[in-house]
């Protein structure tokens, strides 16, 4: 995906069109769209948090969402698995399609959606249960049958935590360090095998070493999962993502392109100003 030379666009609409047009190319099998937003808008009461977003998120890639504080990047992320439903005053218009199905359709149960679209939060939030029970929780409530021990081990291995905790699976999840807790939360999210993993600044509360571990892990995860990650750290976005969405103040999606293109050759002055640190 990173070498799509001719894909130079001047607007988001054109970009989205090209992304669709791309499907005729060589990447067809590996670059399917799993999430697509069509004129997705989010309001908190009378205030518009997100201007109409049109975007296609590709399967098994890491898509980073960057932008200054309050630009709507978390709002967009939380509209994907309908976590915004929990906020009474929040209203969503437009469409957010998961594999072609608008998740805001009447017949979509947000609980079913969240089984396909897992989430990792900004602050590690393990349950005050054992490490094992933390990972097994999703499996249990989703009724995933099979060898529970093997499923838990697999999830912990994928979250690069198994070697550190295999001897103390009965210890409380809260006894782990911050970085380990966040990897435990990742294990909990991937254990029921969702298709998409949303991450809301997963490393912002962690020290540099733990952050590096999480970043390595995200690259690993993108082999099996579609990862959408909000980060306020532009270097992080540049390091780990294949595609980058840039939101700017007022909830506007100002750019969405291959990460390399965004950072090396931003199309608009405003995006360039943000990326080069002139504001935000």
């Amino acid at each position: 995906m990173s070498d799509t030379g001719p894909a130079i666009e001047t607007s988001i609409e054109a970009e989205t069109d090209t992304a669709r047009g791309d499907s005729g190319g060589v990447d067809q099998q590996t670059a399917e769209t799993v999430l697509s937003a069509r004129d997705l808008e989010v309001f908190y009461g009378d205030e518009r948090a997100l201007k109409p977003v049109n975007a296609e998120i590709t399967e098994k890639k890491v898509t980073a969402i960057i932008g200054p504080s309050g630009c709507g990047k978390s709002t967009f992320l939380r509209s994907i698995n309908r976590m915004n439903d929990m906020i009474d005053v929040c209203r969503v218009t437009g469409e957010l399609r998961f594999k072609g199905k608008n998740v805001y359709d009447e017949d979509v149960d947000p609980v079913a959606l969240r089984r396909k679209v897992g989430m990792v939060f900004q602050k590690p939030n393990p349950f005050p249960k054992s490490i094992y029970d933390n990972v097994a929780y999703g499996l249990k409530i989703q009724g995933k049958d099979g060898d529970r021990d093997a499923q838990v081990e697999e999830a912990l291995r994928r979250a690069a935590l198994w070697d550190e905790v295999k001897a103390k699976l009965d210890a409380s999840g809260l006894d782990l360090s911050g970085g380990q807790q966040q990897r435990l939360c990742i294990a909990r999210a991937i254990a029921p095998d969702p298709e998409v993993i949303l991450m809301d600044e997963p490393a912002s509360a962690l020290d540099p070493v733990a952050t590096a571990q999480i970043e390595d892990l995200i690259e690993e995860l993108s082999r099996d999962y579609t990862v959408v990650i909000v980060t306020h750290n532009m270097q992080q976005a540049a390091r780990i993502s294949d595609r980058t969405m840039v939101f700017l103040t007022g909830g506007e999606l100002a750019a969405f392109d291959d990460t390399q293109a965004i950072f090396e050759n931003p199309k608009s002055q405003r995006v360039e100003d943000y990326i080069t640190g002139k504001f935000g």
Binding site: N125, Q142, R188
Partner: protein
């Protein structure tokens, strides 16, 4: 070479320190008033009851003759009232836990955030301040007379339930509110339904707080006299209550009854009764403190 003191111009500190010391002394004095009053009360009660409190006091029914209470006497005590109070509190606990936690879960987790809800919540808080004699009258009218329960253990327990229900609801609501949203989000994030989130995450985290609030309310209820007086706790029970709809005695009523008897010796018997009541009460509070200390999970 003479050095000048660089702090010479700072001259107001002595006065400020003095004010500070006076302030601390006043605060300590305020604390002491409470402690001294409590210690005096306890010392007086224990002194009064000295020699009158024996194992027989816990296992024998009351008697009209003060000498029966003395060691070596025929044996008399608080037994029916002690057992009555324990039954009363156990029943009250059963009713309050279900009603109080149920109402708190509804109000905190399900009820829409409307004016009606806040009105209900404000009124529950107001009910917590209604004098207990009013609940006694309500219990007499509703349970004893209207529901034809008579002057029974069940009517007493239901009346005490009404009395502490508002306090338990408010305490349980606070405990539920203290569960961080990040915990709820974690469960929603892996595809839990609202019921599963409440059952698996919210309730376990709130339980220590709910238990503490409930036990503290119950220890208030066990000492209440007015409501059970209205509902008609007996003062001349010689056996422990044996059925829900039968008559019952309770410790506060029994103590009140002893205290108003003319013979001076009964003041010692009443003091012995107070020591038993306070012991039960302090034991319940100790359990509440233990639960809070032991089970309150330090959530992220």
């Amino acid at each position: 070479m003479s050095t000048t003191n660089p702090f010479e111009d700072v001259s107001d500190l002595d006065r400020k320190r003095t004010i500070g010391r006076v302030f601390v002394a006043l605060c300590i004095a305020s604390t002491m008033v409470g402690i001294v009053a409590l210690v005096t009360l306890l010392a007086d009660v224990i002194y009064e009851s000295w020699g009158w409190l024996s194992l027989e006091f816990l296992t024998y029914p009351p008697s009209r003759f003060p000498e029966s209470y003395l060691p070596g006497g025929r044996g008399a005590g608080i037994y029916p009232a002690l057992v009555g109070s324990i039954f009363l509190i156990a029943l009250t606990a059963l009713f309050t836990v279900f009603l109080g936690v149920g109402a708190a879960i509804y109000l905190e987790e399900y009820a829409p955030d409307t004016r009606t809800t806040s009105l209900i919540e404000a009124n529950i808080a107001n009910l917590a301040g209604v004098p207990s004699i009013v609940y006694g009258l309500l219990g007499l009218a509703v349970f004893v007379r209207f529901a034809r329960m008579g002057q029974s253990l069940l009517a007493g327990a239901l009346t005490l339930t009404l009395l502490i229900l508002p306090i338990v609801i408010v305490a349980a609501q606070e405990a539920l509110r203290a569960v961080p949203d990040s915990q709820r989000e974690a469960a929603y994030g892996v595809g839990a339904t609202k019921w599963e989130v409440i059952r698996d995450v919210v309730l376990p985290a709130a339980l220590p707080g709910i238990m503490t609030g409930t036990i503290l309310s119950l220890s208030r209820a066990i000492g209440e006299t007015a409501p059970i007086l209205m509902v008609g706790a007996a003062t001349s029970m010689f056996v422990a209550p044996d059925s829900l709809l039968g008559p019952f005695a309770a410790m506060p009523m029994q103590i009140f009854d002893w205290a108003r008897l003319p013979q001076a010796e009964f003041q010692h018997v009443a003091a012995a009764g107070i020591v038993v009541l306070l012991t039960v009460l302090l034991a319940m509070n100790a359990v509440a403190i233990y639960i809070r200390y032991r089970f309150e999970a330090d959530l992220p």
